[in-house]
C-alpha cells in the first residue's frame, strides 16, 4: 500500500478528535447523548451533519440507552455506526451494551473515562470502563489525542472484520484527554477510505434484510446459547492477534504505531516493570527516563487493550522480571487489588514468582503525579531486591 499523504495538523481537544475520527470513517448512523466530559463530541457530530461534512443519519435520542439501541439496531441492519458516552451514560446503556456484543454488531464507541455512580463524581477515572468489562466488548485505552483519532480508525477495521464482528470501545481519560488540546495530524479522508477498504473485500456479515424472514440473537436456550457464547468468546480470543496485525497495517500506511495490544517502553533490559494505562502512561514514561538516568533499570508496559486481556503478550513481557508494579486508576470491588492487578495475578503461574505490587491512584481528578510514580518505582525496586513491601497501596489515602 502506498504511504498516506500528510494530514492537516490542528490544535484540537480529545473530544473534537473523537468526532473527527468518527466523521473520517464515514459512519451511516450516529446517535449520541451529551454527558460531561464528552458533550463536545455529540455537539461536533451534529454540527458536522448540519454542515454537510458528515453524511450520516444523525438520530436525536433522549438518553444513552436509546443511543446504544439505535446504533446496535442500525448495525444489525448493516450500517456503519458510531456513538460516544461516559460514566453514567455507559451504565445507562448496560443492557444494550450486551445486546450489541451478543448480536455481534460492530459498533464503535468512544468512552471518555469518568467515575461511576455511587458517589456523584464529575471527574476522571476508569471505573466506568471497569464496570463494563464483562459486557463482551473489545476495550482499548489510549494515551493521547493522536492515539484517540488513530484508534477510532483502527477500531472500525477491527470491529467490522469478518473474523471478529464485535463492538469496540475506545477509552480515553475524561478531563485529561477529553479537554486536552494538542497538535494532532488529521488524516485525509481518502487515506482513511483506503485503510478501511480491505473490509469491502471480505465476505459480508449477516444483516437484517427487508422482506426476508430472519432472526438475530434468538434461540438462547440450551446448546443454542452455549454455541453462540462459545463463538463470541473465541472471537474475542482472535481479537488479540488481529489488533497487532491492524497496528502494523496502520503503521505501514500512516507511519504511526502504538504497539497493538500493549506498548513496551524500555522493557527489554529492565529489571522491574510498571504497568499503567491511559494518559498516566505518558507521565510514567517521563519518570522512567529520569530514573534510568539514575541507573534504575525500569520499563513500562502500557496496557492498550484491556478486553480481551492480552495474556500471551503480557506474560512474554513480564517473564523473568524481578518485580512488577501495577497502577490502577479504578477499583475492583470485592478484591483488595486494583482490577488490572487482580487480572494480572491470574497469570502468576506463567509469569513466575516475582512480587506484584498493586497501586490505586488517579481517582476523581487527583493526579498520578511524578512524585507518586517515583515512589512506585522505588518500592517496586526494593521489592525486587527482596525487601519487604506493601501488597496494596491506595496512594491518595496515604497522603
Amino acid at each position: 500500500m502506498a504511504k498516506a499523504q500528510k494530514g492537516q495538523v490542528r490544535v484540537i481537544t480529545g473530544n473534537a478528535v473523537g468526532a473527527y475520527g468518527a466523521m473520517l470513517c464515514r459512519p451511516e448512523v450516529v446517535a449520541a447523548y451529551p454527558i460531561t466530559p464528552q458533550s463536545e463530541i455529540a455537539e461536533l457530530l451534529s454540527q458536522f451533519k448540519a454542515n454537510g461534512v458528515m453524511d450520516a443519519e444523525y438520530v436525536e435520542v433522549e438518553g444513552e440507552n436509546s443511543a446504544m439501541n439505535v446504533v446496535l439496531a442500525a448495525g444489525v441492519a448493516g450500517a456503519r455506526v458510531f456513538t460516544a458516552t461516559s460514566s453514567y451514560g455507559l451504565v445507562f446503556m448496560y443492557d444494550a451494551l450486551q445486546e450489541a456484543s451478543g448480536f455481534r454488531v460492530p459498533v464503535v464507541m468512544v468512552n471518555a473515562n469518568r467515575e461511576t455512580p455511587g458517589i456523584h463524581a464529575v471527574s476522571s477515572g476508569q471505573q466506568d470502563m471497569i464496570s463494563a468489562r464483562d459486557t463482551g466488548w473489545v476495550q482499548i485505552i489510549v494515551e493521547n489525542d493522536q492515539e484517540i483519532l488513530d484508534q477510532i480508525i483502527m477500531a472500525y477495521r477491527l470491529a467490522e472484520d469478518y473474523d471478529i464482528q464485535l463492538p469496540v470501545m475506545v477509552n480515553y481519560d475524561g478531563f485529561y484527554l477529553s479537554y486536552l488540546a494538542e497538535a494532532v495530524e488529521i488524516p485525509n479522508i481518502e487515506d482513511v477510505d483506503a485503510f478501511l477498504a480491505p473490509l469491502k473485500e471480505q465476505p459480508k456479515r449477516q444483516t437484517l434484510v427487508p422482506g426476508v424472514s430472519k432472526g438475530c440473537g434468538t434461540h438462547g436456550m440450551e446448546m443454542g446459547y452455549v454455541e453462540a457464547r462459545y463463538k463470541h468468546c473465541m472471537a474475542l480470543e482472535r481479537v488479540k492477534n488481529k489488533v497487532d496485525e491492524i497496528d502494523k497495517a496502520f503503521s505501514d500506511y500512516f507511519g504511526r504505531s502504538y504497539g497493538g495490544q500493549l506498548e513496551e517502553y524500555r522493557t527489554e533490559d529492565a529489571d522491574i516493570i510498571i504497568i499503567a494505562s491511559g494518559s498516566a502512561a505518558g507521565t510514567v514514561k517521563t519518570v522512567i527516563d529520569a530514573k534510568r538516568e539514575e541507573g534504575v533499570k525500569v520499563g513500562l508496559v502500557k496496557l492498550r487493550m484491556f478486553r480481551p486481556f492480552p495474556a500471551e503478550r503480557i506474560v512474554k513481557a513480564l517473564k523473568g522480571k524481578k518485580a512488577i508494579g501495577v497502577i490502577d486508576r479504578s477499583l475492583c470491588f470485592g478484591w483488595k487489588y486494583g482490577p488490572m492487578c487482580m487480572e494480572l495475578r491470574a497469570l502468576s503461574p506463567e509469569i513466575g514468582p516475582s512480587p506484584i505490587l498493586s497501586y490505586i491512584d488517579g481517582l476523581a481528578n487527583l493526579d498520578i503525579t511524578i512524585t507518586h510514580i517515583g515512589r512506585v518505582i522505588d518500592e517496586v525496586s526494593a521489592a525486587a531486591q527482596g525487601k519487604s513491601y506493601q501488597e496494596v497501596t491506595w496512594i491518595p489515602m496515604e497522603e
Binding site: V9, T13, A181, S279, T283, N365, T369
Partner: protein, 167 residues
C-alpha cells in the same frame, strides 16, 4: 479557549504543546484553571501543573487566595489582569511581574468583559516566549469576521500596554 489559542500560537512556532482545563462542572462562569505545557520535545506528562514557570491570573479577585502563588518556580513570571498597579512583589520566586487592565481593554475593543485575548498579548510581551504575530495567527482558527478583528486589536493592545516589572 484562551489556553487553546496560546497552544496554537506555540505550535505555529514549532513547539510541542499540551493544554487542558480542570473544572468540575461544565458551565460558563464557574472557576476554571487551565494548564499549558510547552516544549521542543513531545509532551508526555499528563498531570496538573504544580510548579509553574508562569502564572496568568484573569480574575483579580483571586489575589485574595492564599495558595495562589504556591509552587511558583524561581525566576517565574506573573501576569495579572487588573485596573490597579502592582505595588509589591507578591511572591519570593517571581522575577517578572506584569499588569494590564485587560478587562477595560476588552470592553473597549470587543464590547464585552472577555479579557483573555488581551492577556495573551500581555503574556507574549512579558515573557518573550513567543511572538505577538504567532498569537494573532492562531486566532482565525477560533474566531472569524468582526469578532476576530476586535480580538486582534485587544491582543495587540495587551502586548503594547502591559506594564512589565523585572525584579
Amino acid at each position: 479557549m484562551a489556553a487553546r489559542m496560546l497552544a496554537s500560537a506555540f505550535v505555529i512556532e514549532g513547539k510541542s504543546v499540551a493544554s487542558f482545563p480542570m473544572y468540575g462542572f461544565e458551565r460558563r462562569g464557574a472557576p476554571v484553571v487551565a494548564f499549558t505545557r510547552v516544549d521542543d520535545k513531545p509532551i508526555r506528562e499528563k498531570t496538573q501543573i504544580y510548579t509553574p514557570d508562569c502564572l496568568v491570573v484573569i480574575d483579580p479577585g483571586l489575589l485574595a487566595l492564599p495558595t495562589l502563588f504556591t509552587g511558583l518556580k524561581p525566576g517565574s513570571a506573573f501576569i495579572l489582569n487588573s485596573p490597579k498597579k502592582l505595588t509589591a512583589k507578591p511572591s519570593e520566586n517571581l522575577k517578572i511581574g506584569a499588569v494590564v487592565n485587560a478587562t477595560q481593554i476588552a470592553v473597549d475593543e470587543i464590547g464585552r468583559d472577555i479579557p483573555n485575548t488581551c492577556l495573551l498579548g500581555a503574556v507574549a510581551a512579558a515573557t518573550g516566549w513567543l511572538k505577538l504575530e504567532s498569537i494573532l495567527d492562531s486566532m482565525p482558527d477560533y474566531l472569524s469576521g468582526d469578532i476576530l478583528e476586535r480580538n486582534i486589536k485587544s491582543a495587540e493592545r495587551g502586548y503594547r500596554e502591559v506594564e512589565v516589572i523585572k525584579w
